[in-house]
């Protein structure tokens, strides 16, 4: 099976997952005990507005028919109206998505850049201080609630040390002006426009949230990297490489590390699940104007359409991220191509 064929197969494989996600979100609102009309009308509604919502959303029709109209609305980009902002949910989400994506990307980048070298060093110097540092970091990081870490960092670096800026969002608009929107990512947009002071401001605001979010992901990545490197370094093929006198660097990078990265790619799926979930908590702590903060407000205020839209969006992002990792695995490991 050619490479294109395998990629196509993987892409098609994502469709049942997406379908399942749509079904579950539908069932959550329409099939559970309780009146969906009340759910969508919100806490401030009276009997009249509930009835209005019921007829507007067609909630008096049969379940399969409702599902069909739900799906068709969704495919047309209609996710309902937000009760709190008054705007269509889709508009709200699209507006706020870049902020969340930028934060998530920065967090994962931080986690990978720190965790992988840490894991490699811990494996090559087994038993040394760096190995113990790696193992204790992993154990501790796995126990820390993300929101607590975030608050601790704000307290230490903002309140005590005055290094970090005030945690009030992506950019302090007293000093800086937001860059013109090209990608929606402040760091990329300001760099492209050459507005380096804005870049600095945005980076400073991003630092603590990205680190708090990334610390959570750091633990499993470092642990798997260390374990995978230990396995690789003890493997038969590394022994052969050493027996051929290959240089230390060659053995470490080309023979050991490349093989160790395969299990790391596998664990990334789990890591993304954690990170996309913890995103919500971090945005809440730092006042980050992303979809997570939006969803928190929506859940508290029982703005159900907004919550539902948020869940659909996050699940879709997650499925796409998993697909990306899967494709990277295929590129890295020729044995996967064989199995198809």
């Amino acid at each position: 099976m050619g490479l294109i064929g395998i990629v196509a197969k993987r892409l098609l494989g994502a469709i049942p997952s997406l379908a399942g996600v749509v079904v579950v979100t539908f069932l959550l609102s329409h099939a559970l005990p309780g009146d969906p009309a009340v759910l969508f009308a919100g806490p401030a509604a009276n009997a009249e507005s509930v009835a209005q919502v019921r007829s507007h959303l067609g909630l008096d029709r049969s379940l399969p028919v409702q599902f069909l109209s739900y799906t068709s609305d969704m495919l047309h980009g209609d996710l309902g109206q937000s009760l709190t902002t008054g705007q269509p949910v889709v508009t709200d989400l699209v507006q706020r998505l870049p902020a969340s994506l930028e934060l998530t990307a920065a967090a994962i980048l931080f986690a990978v850049v720190v965790a992988i070298p840490l894991g490699v060093l811990a494996a090559t110097r087994e038993g040394s201080w760096i190995d113990h540092l790696c193992r204790s970091t992993v154990t501790l990081a796995a126990a820390f609630p993300t929101f607590f870490v975030a608050l601790l960092l704000v307290y230490v670096f903002y309140y005590l040390l005055r290094i970090a800026p005030e945690p009030l969002g992506r950019l302090n608009d007293v000093y800086f002006e937001a860059p013109a929107t090209i990608t929606g990512f402040y760091l990329i947009d300001s760099a492209l426009a050459g507005q380096w002071t804005t870049f600095g401001g945005a980076l400073a605001q991003m630092a603590l949230p990205a680190i708090s979010l990334g610390l959570f992901a750091l633990a499993p990545i470092a642990r798997i990297t260390r374990a995978a490197m230990l396995t690789a370094l003890g493997s038969d093929f590394v022994r052969t490489a050493r027996a051929c006198g290959l240089s230390h660097r060659k053995v470490l990078v080309t023979y050991a590390m490349r093989n160790a990265m395969l299990p790391v790619a596998n664990v990334l799926g789990m890591v993304f699940s954690f990170v996309l979930g913890a995103n919500v908590l971090i945005e809440d702590v730092f006042g980050w104007p992303g979809v997570g903060a939006y969803a928190v407000k929506a859940v508290i205020q029982s703005d159900y359409s907004a919550v539902q839209g948020f869940i659909l969006m996050m699940a879709t992002v997650y499925i796409l991220l998993n697909l990306l990792v899967d494709l990277l695995s295929i590129a890295a490991d020729p044995r996967v191509r064989m199995e198809g």
């Binding site: 309780g34 820390f144 609630p145 608050l151 307290y155 979930g277 869940i311």
Partner: protein
């Protein structure tokens, strides 16, 4: 019938010996046991141990730093934080234990059935688990709470649902491995039906490994429940609960009253740490593959 009962004393003695060996080997597990004891004490006898009434407000001594009178300081309403942290143990641990118990029982049952019967049962099970895992788990929990209503019971339910796949898949794999083993064949030939074999023989054998999974999962369940209450779901003020206490304390960082959020946060961290270590220790004792 006496032929089917296992000789009791040697097995439990071996287990005891293994436990003592593991505890002696690993001081960290001993520390975790100690911590667990303290947590249990707080959960059961919290109201008695706590120096002050966790709900009693005292506006005159609000936001006082840690002193001899108030070891953990006081919060925005003058309530003693130490008392609140101690009493909160019951709710936090209770939520996590309930959630883990529910997902453990249902997940193991579903997974075992899927692993044993295969075919359509397995296919449906697989689809169900895959669908749950297609969501970022915390996000799904938020959605479940939003749909069912904002209450502690629903927090427990939501945490239970998102943990199902861990137990389900593990149980399925373990049963799959054991399904074709000799003693199962023997039971089948003895005329036992599928369900009986499952419950009688296989499940009893996978229970130790599943118990290890459960203790490792407890930490994650505590974090989940606390996360949900941090963003304002389930638990309402003035109920003392670690997550909501951190959330209340968060507003006071910028004015420097760190004790309002640090102590409940540390309690959370210690509880999770304790269960993670206990899980590792339990695995060393119970998992025959690791026993030396």
């Amino acid at each position: 019938m006496s032929a089917t009962t296992q000789p009791r004393p040697p097995r439990s003695l071996a287990l005891l010996r293994a436990t003592r060996y593991t505890l002696a080997e690993n001081q960290l597990t001993l520390v975790a046991c100690g911590l667990f004891g303290i947590l249990l004490l707080c959960a059961v006898f919290g109201a008695v141990i706590a120096p002050y009434d966790p709900l009693a407000t005292d506006m005159a001594s609000r936001l006082k730093p840690p002193t001899a009178a108030h070891w953990f300081g006081t919060d925005a309403l003058g309530r003693d934080i130490l008392s609140r942290v101690i009493v909160a143990a019951r709710l936090d641990l209770g939520m996590a234990v309930s959630a883990v118990a529910v997902s453990f029982l249902i997940g193991t049952a579903l997974g075992a059935m899927a692993g044993y019967w295969g075919g359509l049962v397995d296919a449906i099970f697989g689809r169900l688990m895959d669908t749950i895992m297609a969501f970022p788990l915390f996000v799904l929990a938020m959605g479940i709470v939003a749909a069912l209503g904002n209450s502690v019971l629903n927090i427990i339910l939501a945490t239970a649902v998102i943990n199902l796949p861990f137990y389900g898949r593990f149980a399925r794999a373990e049963v799959n491995v054991r399904r074709d083993l000799a003693y199962v064949e023997a039971a089948r030939m003895g005329g036992n039906g599928g369900l009986r074999i499952l419950s009688g023989h296989i499940v009893r054998n996978i229970l130790p490994t599943m118990a290890v999974q459960a203790s490792l999962n407890m930490g994650w369940a505590i974090l989940n429940a606390a996360g949900l209450s941090f963003i304002g779901l389930g638990v309402r003020p003035p109920t003392p609960e670690w997550g909501i206490m951190v959330s209340e304390g968060a507003s006071y960082i910028i004015s420097g009253e760190w004790w309002t959020f640090v102590f409940p946060g540390m309690a959370l961290m210690l509880a999770v740490f304790c269960f993670n270590l206990l899980g590792d220790g339990l695995r060393d004792v119970l998992d025959p593959r690791r026993r030396t």
